[in-house]
């Protein structure tokens, strides 16, 4: 039964990676005044590519509890793989505004990054919701 296609899977992965990205940026904001702190960054396209590879490597995505994954994983583990893949790609980056105390967080750029990330998250969530709403509409013969 392939009602849920690859586009939906991509959207799910995007949501997971965007959440990891938020965590990374929030961590930078929280440490904006920590001396010697080097900001962390996550490359979104890289993370999505890694998530896709992880997904493809497992063959069919096992979203069913009856279909045990390679290590007998629990339900819902399929999309948290994207989260894991993204977490592994977080890197320290040389900051863009070094200061006397060694802290290199550029607060303005980070805040802009947070806003953009949130917008993209909302867009992916809206797209996923709409796709599922369309399916629901079709299945219910035009009802709700």
């Amino acid at each position: 039964m392939k009602i849920f296609d690859t586009t939906l899977t991509r959207l799910e992965e995007a949501l997971d990676v965007r959440l990891v990205q938020h965590n990374v940026l929030a961590g930078n904001v929280a440490n904006a005044d920590t001396p010697g702190y080097r900001p962390k960054a996550l490359d979104f396209s890289q993370a999505m590519a890694a998530a896709e590879q992880m997904f493809a490597g497992e063959g069919m995505a096992s979203t069913s509890a009856r279909h045990l994954g390679p290590a007998g994983e629990e339900p819902g583990a399929a999309s948290s793989r994207a989260s894991t893949a993204a977490t592994q790609l977080i890197r320290e980056t040389p900051g863009t505004s070094p200061s006397i105390d060694g802290n290199e967080v550029d607060l303005d750029r980070t805040m802009a990054g947070l806003a953009e990330n949130s917008l993209q998250y909302g867009a992916s969530a809206r797209a996923a919701g709409k796709k599922l709403a369309i399916l629901r509409y079709v299945v219910s013969d035009g009802g709700s």
């Binding site: 959440l19 961590g27 929280a30 962390k40 919701g129």
Partner: protein
């Protein structure tokens, strides 16, 4: 890496900035305090902020990357820089030579710290707001 983690990171950031604000205002309020319980003039207080890795919630996967860190106040230390001495023999706290030691507080310095901490506090609050919006959108998927 989920909503709870992000919330805790930003919450910790808020706490750190609030402490900075408190210390700056305390320093400003005591800029002329020549007498303290421990003896001598007031010494300005400095926060020591450090970044701590978040407790591993994803298992070993987290040790491979470079996880986001939260900030916390490691300690509050008194600045040991000697205060300025003013010649004022009539002052009740004057030493035998007639000098009074005033606190090592530079009001300009403290106000700058205050402003910086205030800005960072707002940034953390905005981060939490952003998270709330994202959470709403996530829940909206299920109508």
């Amino acid at each position: 890496m989920d909503f709870l983690t992000a919330l805790r990171i930003s919450g910790a950031g808020l706490g750190v900035e609030r402490t900075r604000v408190n210390l700056a205002t305390s320093n400003l309020a005591n800029a002329e305090t020549t007498r303290t319980a421990e003896g001598g003039a007031y010494k300005r207080l400095d926060p020591v902020i450090q970044a701590v890795p978040f407790p591993a919630e994803l298992g070993e996967a987290q040790s491979l990357g470079s996880p986001p860190m939260k900030a916390e106040i490691a300690a509050i230390v008194a600045d040991q820089t000697p205060g300025r001495k003013v010649y004022s023999p009539g002052h009740p706290d004057a030493d035998p030579e007639g000098f009074v030691v005033f606190p090592n507080v530079n009001p300009v310095h403290e106000v700058v710290n205050l402003m910086s901490a205030s800005r960072s506090y707002e940034a953390n609050a905005t981060a939490i707001d952003t998270l709330k919006t994202m959470a709403q959108r996530g829940l909206d998927i299920a109508r």
